[in-house]
């Protein structure tokens, strides 16, 4: 008896009770996402996070694994979001020295852009009759995802919906941003970059970086400034909208 292998269901029970399964699943899905992204010459449509989310969601649905069970293991990855948010101080500090002479103009454009982002998203969604529980998830979606999720918790929105909307916004901005910028005849790299960073945070920033270094530096600053300003102002604005 004791020489026989344990039945497959026992192995399964053991594995699904350990954080390893969720961790391996998350990391390998991201790895697959990254290699597809690299193979398509960093096409923003092949966003590695989007690919990984679809893969993990597919696998846990196929395994009948409840999301709560998956998250129990994956929370070790999730925890590092806070650390990553703190680290955003590094690119902001590095960009600051060369950008501070334009700070007045940048701040005005940031506040106008941030307000436009919230008002248009909530306005269009309500006009088209979107369920109110989803509308709340739109409030912080132009802010970089780690900060957006922190804001979401404070305005009683779902951090999950906010993250999904943030990633979708980033992809749309990175793919379509240049058509708007060309249509408005915006030629200066710093103006193009900053607008992408404000509207499409990290995904827009990596797009800007791959086009031109000056655009990338201003995109990082736009993303960082929007993160800090959003964390302070969005909870108050949300109080007015809901």
């Amino acid at each position: 008896m004791s020489n026989e292998l344990p039945p497959i269901s026992d192995i399964w029970v053991y594995l699904s009770g350990s954080p390893l399964l969720a961790l391996v699943l998350t990391l390998s899905a991201y790895w697959i996402g990254l290699s597809i992204y690299e193979r398509t010459q960093r096409n923003p449509l092949a966003n590695p996070v989007l690919i990984a989310v679809v893969l993990v969601a597919g696998v846990i649905s196929a395994l009948n694994m409840p999301y709560a069970k998956y998250f129990e293991g994956a929370q070790f990855v999730h925890f590092l979001l806070g650390t990553a948010t703190v680290s955003l101080a590094i690119p902001i500090y590095k960009g600051w020295a060369s950008l501070k002479r334009r700070i007045g103009v940048l701040l005005l454009a940031l506040f106008a852009g941030a307000a436009t982002s919230i008002v248009t998203a909530v306005g269009v969604a309500r006009w088209l009759g979107v369920d109110e529980s989803l509308v709340r998830g739109l409030v912080a979606k132009s802010v970089t995802a780690p900060i957006a999720m922190g804001i979401a918790e404070r305005v009683h929105a779902s951090p999950t919906l906010t993250a999904i909307f943030a990633v979708s916004t980033g992809i749309l901005g990175a793919v379509l941003g240049r058509f708007v910028l060309n249509g408005l005849h915006i030629q200066a790299w710093w103006q193009r970059g900053f607008a992408l960073g404000v509207a499409a945070h990290g995904i827009g920033t990596s797009r800007a970086l791959s086009v031109h270094p000056e655009a990338g530096a201003y995109a990082s600053l736009g993303m960082g400034m929007h993160g800090i300003a959003g964390a302070v102002l969005i909870p108050y604005l949300a109080g007015q909208l809901f």
Binding site: A22, Y30, N47, A52, V56, A57, S61, A74, Q75, L81, G82, A84, T85, V86, S87, L88, A89, I90, I92, Y93, V105, L108, A109, L110, A112, G113, T116, S117, A121, V124, A125, D131, L134, L138, S142, M149, E153, R154, P159, T160, A163, V167, L172, G173, G177, V180, L181, L184, A188, W190, Q191, A195, L196, V198, G222, G227, I228, A231, P235, Y236
Partner: protein, 119 residues
């Protein structure tokens, strides 16, 4: 590497404490970001050990929001029922944000830089 990681965790912890006891409306990590920014400004440069760990973490930022985003499985029926409205809201919003931000930058910097050109 360990030194940098410890320092980042410390700033994160200070931020969480500040959020808990003084500024509950702002997420703790954002306060940690501001504290680290002040520290870097005081030092006058980014110490190598913080730069190394911080840049590595930021390089794979996308990985870190996968666990929360997979929660989308819980919202699929609701999202499907509202797909058209949500897609339109996201699209209009991002395009309008890019247009307003870049348009205003162009307008304001032209106003600020033109008088200087005439001198």
């Amino acid at each position: 590497m360990i030194q940098g990681l410890v320092q980042l965790f410390l700033f994160q912890a200070f931020g969480e404490l500040l959020a808990k006891f003084a500024l509950p409306m702002i997420p703790g990590p954002v306060l940690g970001l501001v504290l680290l920014l002040l520290y870097l400004a005081l030092r006058g440069h980014v110490p190598d050990h913080i730069d190394g760990v911080g840049s590595t973490v930021l390089q794979h930022l996308g990985l870190l929001f996968i666990p929360a985003s997979v929660g989308v499985v819980l919202y699929l029926p609701l999202l499907k029922a509202n797909a058209w409205g949500i897609a339109s809201a996201l699209l209009v919003s991002v395009l309008a944000t890019i247009a307003v931000t870049s348009g205003l930058l162009k307008l304001l910097s032209r106003a600020a830089e033109e008088p200087r050109d005439e001198q």
